[in-house]
């Protein structure tokens, strides 16, 4: 009957263990119960020590019973483990954190709005096939004026108020000297240049700065005509603004192009209607403030390259080309609704952080 007693002892120990396991509250407690139950010195193992008292026939029976008991305890341990894990997960999922608390660490810096717009314009010109080019900001009169068909002692020079370094050296008044340098360097057509950079004019008020940024396109090739100028500029403005942008060419005068045109585009504020949707954008007569009710705003200057310019760089007589120039600040002011150009150069972070 020793076997019976031992099996009962095993049963009692097992149910005792399972009860404790089911009541366990932490994984640490569970781990110590596992050691206590089925480790080398565990209580179930201890029962097996009575094996010696048994007959060789009974021994396997006790062994089998012990194995079964051990499996059941293991099962209980597994269950308990899952139960505890579930409980822990549920508890974790109940912890509310306040995500309205502030962020920490450094915030991202930014490009200056002028540089952003400059890059935007240049990337549109990249896609149209223009190659970027730069040049010196302090220029000889030859590159800035003479080669561009501004003769000495000619009233056309009054169109650009100039900073002088000495009689023959000026702060460049436009990006056009880049054209001249590039044409002289390459020596022959074709040319597809987008010249850009800082330019200087002796002028200062809410819409004029003594330094500003300009971008200029030059396209020279055999067979180029006014249709190319018009097609390119229309595509350029439609890409830079919206595909619905209206474009108008008004004849004008620049010494380095003939014929020349000022290019207007439909007003960004009223869409060309002359009356803005937002009443605050209209003046006391109910007309759009930005375009004064005309529906058009001046955006760039353009024209066919004057033959005298090709003469100055020794290009063939029958060559033709077109050129256009745009002010980066002007575009940025239109895009962002900025009315005072000086804002750009104050570099106030309350301003810069908006772009």
């Amino acid at each position: 009957m020793v076997l019976q007693a031992l099996i009962e002892e095993l049963g009692a120990e097992e149910s005792n263990l399972i009860k404790t396991i089911e009541a366990a509250l932490s994984s640490e407690e569970l781990e110590s119960l596992r050691v206590k139950a089925i480790g080398k010195k565990g209580s179930l193992t201890k029962v097996l020590r009575g094996m010696g008292k048994l007959s060789p026939d009974d021994r396997p029976k006790l062994g089998a019973a012990a194995n079964q008991a051990r499996d059941r305890v293991n099962n209980a341990l597994e269950h308990a483990k899952k139960r505890l894990e579930n409980a822990a997960l549920e508890a974790e999922l109940k912890i509310q954190l306040d995500l309205s608390e502030p962020s920490a660490g450094l915030s991202l810096g930014s490009s200056h709005p002028i540089m952003q717009v400059q890059e935007e314009i240049l990337s549109v010109m990249d896609r149209l096939g223009f190659q970027r080019a730069e040049g010196p900001e302090i220029e000889h009169d030859f590159y800035n004026f003479e080669a561009l068909n501004f003769p000495h002692n000619h009233p056309a020079r009054d169109m650009q108020d100039t900073f002088f370094v000495d009689e023959n050296v000026v702060l460049r008044t436009h990006t056009s000297p880049i054209q001249i340098r590039q044409m002289l360097a390459q020596g022959e057509p074709p040319m597809h240049i987008s010249g850009y950079g800082r330019v200087y004019r002796h002028d200062q008020d809410a819409t004029h700065s003594p330094m500003f940024h300009q971008i200029e396109g030059l396209w020279v090739d055999h067979g180029v005509h006014l249709g190319h100028l018009k097609g390119t500029i229309t595509a350029f403005l439609e890409t830079l603004f919206t595909p619905e942008t209206g474009v108008r060419f008004r004849p004008s005068y620049f010494p380095f192009t003939e014929p020349s045109a000022e290019v207007d585009m439909s007003c960004v504020m009223c869409g060309g209607s002359g009356v803005a949707h937002d009443p605050a954008a209209n003046n006391e007569h109910g007309k759009c403030k930005m375009c004064k009710g005309t529906g058009w705003i001046e955006i760039l200057g353009a024209g066919m390259v004057d033959p005298n310019v090709f003469g100055a760089v020794n290009f063939p007589k029958d060559i033709r080309g077109f050129a256009f120039g745009i002010g980066v600040e002007r575009v940025a002011m239109l895009k962002y609704g900025i009315s005072d150009i000086r804002m750009f150069y104050e570099n106030d972070h309350r301003f810069l952080s908006q772009f």
């Binding site: 450094l106 810096g109 370094v165 005509h225 190319h228």
Partner: protein, 815 residues
Amino acid sequence: MLISRKLLNQWIDVSKHSIETISDKLSLAGLEVEGTETFALDARVVLARVLHVEKHPDAKKLSVLQVSTGENTEQIVCGAANVFEGALVALAQPGAVLPGEMTIAHAEIRGVKSAGMLASEKELGLSENHEGIMIVAEEHSGRLGQSIATLLSLNDTILEIGVTPDRSDALSHFGIARELSALLEQDMLQDGYEVEELAWVDAPPSLKIHASDLCQGYRLVSFPNYCSSKLADKASCDSRLLGRVGFRSKASAVDATNLCLVNIGQPTHAFDAAKLRKRAGSEGVSIEVRCAQEGEKIKTLDEVEVVLSSEDLVIADRKGPIAIAGVMGGLETAVDENTTEVWFEVAHFAADSVRASSRRHGIHSESSYRYERGVDPLLHERAIRELAKACNASQAHILGEQGLIEEAVSLNFMHSELEALVGGTSLDSIRVVKRLQNLGIKTRCEKGEYHIDPPTHRPDLTRSVDVMAEWVRTEGFDSIVGVKPRPAKPPRLGSRRTTRKHLAKVTQARGFREHVNLAFMSHAEAELVASSDEYVCIANPLGVETALMRSSLQLGLLKNAAAQMAHSGHTLRCYEMGTIFTSKHSENSPNPRQAGSALGADSYAKEHEIFSALEISPSGKDKLETIRGALAKVKLVVEEVFDFETSLLFEQNQDFGRLWHPSQSASLVCEGHKLGVFGVIHPRVLAFYGLEKYSAVAFDIDVEKLAELRSQIRRTYKAFSKFPGVTRDISVGVPESTRVSALREILREAGQGSALESIDVFDIYRGDTIEAGQKAVAMRLTFQSHAGTLKDEDVDPIVASALALLESKLGATQR
């Protein structure tokens, strides 16, 4: 330029066109109408006669009037001194709105009722005259009660036109009318005014042109029976018109010259004949057109004494210059309110000469403005008619001659050239000929070739392309079909551009914002950078703050920081990319016509593209600690800029110029090239900007050099070890003067040939548990082998020998 619709109507009848139509036509033909202003006087301002004047019972300076508007008699209180019984006046009736939004109402002035007011010319917006009420000429007496606006035809619209420098022909009402005639395809009105030419009888002046290349004609004109006090009504009408097109009314002879100018664009001048006779004395007046003698003087109309050069063309009598030709007349012979006899000058001077004199002496007049753009040399007869009209004269004494007018060069071009320019669309040559002829350009077309004779009023048409442009201008760009040219090569990405992008990416990721500053500086700022005088000075700066081209970008950033700190005391991180300039005045400027030097960027000054970054923050209690922290943070950014190159050296104790702290700055040296400076901004510089309480850490990098270095990088993949590395942390105490780079060098030396892979300094401690003047540097040594997992015995002897070397060479104690 201001154009009055009323004056325009003298030359072309545009009454049936709206002002919008006229504006659009002109704007789309290159004469941009920049604005319009309409003058319309309220019709409730009517003509009235003062019947009776008596003193106001209760106010000394006021009168109580009975005025008649024909049908009614009204009682009006008036304060003007010039009111009299029988005067014709402008009565603003209740309800009338005068210029300046002044509304007239029934009023009671000191107990006396007033049914409106009598208006002055200023109150009606007619002139600046505010001395008393407007008195209307007696000739209008039959029209009491009628609107003053209709009576005196006061209403008008003024167009402001931006005339480009090539269009001298459009600088007058006549010129604009001629343009409209072509654009509207409508004839101009015939000018029926006739002037009879009389011989100059008593004592004519002698007249001689000495510089016929600079003066293509000179006439003196005198109108007999001309009296400077014209009809009062015409005078006020003329001065009103002149006022509206931007001329201040002056002596009536001057008004006549100005009317001639705005009407037809011919500058003229009025001399006081009596003053000329007085100067000449008994010898008689002798007038010469000649070049001035060097140093000759003249006091001009604006009372400035001008010292003339031998290149100035002048009008002179025996005593000296009496006018600078085409620029301005002299004060001594000018007409004034006492002038009784006027000699008008009608002349033609060369554009270049007038422009040169005008610029030389800084005198810019309406006359020089027109001459330097080119005045039609065939305008003299018309000018004499205009002057006569303005002076109510029908006869004139005329002396002098029209000079030789250079014949314009004939131009020709093929019809196919014009078609190729506009884009291959086929054009009708008959239409082209007609259009050009409408513009006054003599044109014929034979066998597909145009033959052109440009008119004298279009000095801008000198080449066939100019004439083709006339077709485009008047036909409009709408007729041109836009096409895109065939695509060119895809654009290339230069190393300069990728370097700029890299710099922006690295700094923006660390919170730096880009700034754009004007590229100028003051002399005081220049002194902050260096003591040399190698600056680019601007000959005509806007002010002292912008007198020089900048020699450092840090100046702009510091100035921005100072403004920013005024409202935010926080740490500010900013950067700028741009050009700095130094002069090259010791060398001669290269000849710009040498094609080979066309792309040499440093031709006339040295221009360097620099990237500058700045971090500025309040110094706090422990300034040194603040600076150390800032240096560490900003140095990380510098290292990220040079992410491709581990041999970046920070070389201290060099000459960095005055901007940098001499003991807390370093040159950035890479592959033997000096690429920039990193360090602390000099406290004296911070003080200049009022930033004494702040600390600033900054760096400058030469973008061109960095781009060159980066363009040489060939990134290649290096295999990394598959086995785990072994690390050992060591900490040593060294004197403050020992540089961390020295520790690293010794560790490298000790680890040479071993598996030592990297040395990372992870802590530097100064404080209570270490001797004063000492610092504890904690470093992690990482050993790594490609052959297998390292064991302790592979590593420990190296660490031990390294520590021994640190102790023997630097006196470092292990902690």
